[in-house]
């Protein structure tokens, strides 16, 4: 008899047994960027590269780089926390068109 606790993921029809998901972080297939009605844009000259926007982004869609942070518009929901919290007011929210 097969061990019911084996780590193999059995697939019955379209659903895995125990509803197990074997790919960590595969929610990235779902692009939440389409929810956005305002788009954050970083002003390259005002940005002091402090990284506060990176820390406060609830969707982890601002990435720290060597230069100014880069916003991933595939996942940014346009909440505007980065624009409010930026100490040097380098982020502006522009309406999506």
């Amino acid at each position: 008899m097969k061990n019911p606790f084996s780590h193999e993921v059995k697939i019955v029809g379209k659903i895995t047994v125990g509803a197990r998901i074997t790919q960590p972080g595969n929610s990235m297939e779902y692009k939440t960027g389409s929810w956005r009605s305002y788009k954050p844009i970083i002003d390259k000259e005002k940005c002091k590269k402090c990284g506060i926007c990176v820390t406060y982004c609830p969707d982890a869609s601002i990435k720290r780089t060597e230069d100014i942070p880069v916003i991933d518009y595939d996942y940014c929901k346009g909440c505007g926390i980065c624009a409010i919290e930026c100490p040097s007011h380098a982020i502006i929210m522009k309406p999506e068109v």
Partner: protein
Amino acid sequence: MKEEEVELLAPGHKMCSGCGVALSTRLCINAAGKNTIVAASTGCLEVTTSMYPQTAWRVPYIHGAFENAASVASGIEAALKKLGKKCNVLAIGGDGGTFDIGLQALSGMFERGHKVTFVCNDNEAYMNTGIQRCSATPYGAWTTTSPFGKYSIGESRPKKPIAMIAAAHCIPYVATATPAYFADYQKKVKKALSVDGPAFIHVLTPCPSGWRFPPEKMVEISRLAVQTGVFLPWEVENGEVENLRITVKPAKRKSVEEYLKVQGRFTHLFKPERRQDVIDKIQKMVDEKCKRFGVE
């Protein structure tokens, strides 16, 4: 990219824009690190991050039922002990899964002394099912089941002091935090995971949909909660409640009105007519609490 900068809560989860729970969980799991197992209770966090067949988690994650995040985490910890493996165990619950429904499982976990850190993301009502009141809802707040009107001012009972209940168990570590003071919060998560025994962290996570404020003000409101004294970040080590330490002291406490005004759930205290009696009562409750904690 350095290893510690890998986001352990992937983007693409379905939490509302400007969600406090999303930010709190992200800060918490990034502080805990890769070597962590998460057990979550039913709530906003569970329905948004683990919608089959997708998951936002990059660490092992299990969802049991509403009431038993603490019990599931206890079982995981016991199994790890038996297998001789070292791994952080994190239980994450909402306010419903901690204050009301999950309280006895949580108390049992504290009593048995499992090495589990329980993080409570408190958004002060059952937001997942549509803003029903719970024992975390503060005095005077509107929810769909504590409406305001001619004979009601909204919620008529004060908030349950859950962190004090946890501290009364004399467990090694109890703390409260808000995502606005992220360094303080992440330090507390690391400290909680390092102690030998159960730990509890109560996090106030503002909810734009339920508290009725624009999403960009989430961090600002969680900071205001500390600056007005409505929510105080403190920690208690080794069950010594008498040595309670306030970690973020508001320099000069603002009037509680500033905190209430920005939230739509307290609008009925200002419009159509000002309910000074209720505002005064909330201010008095906050003053008394601050006095007890030794904050001016």
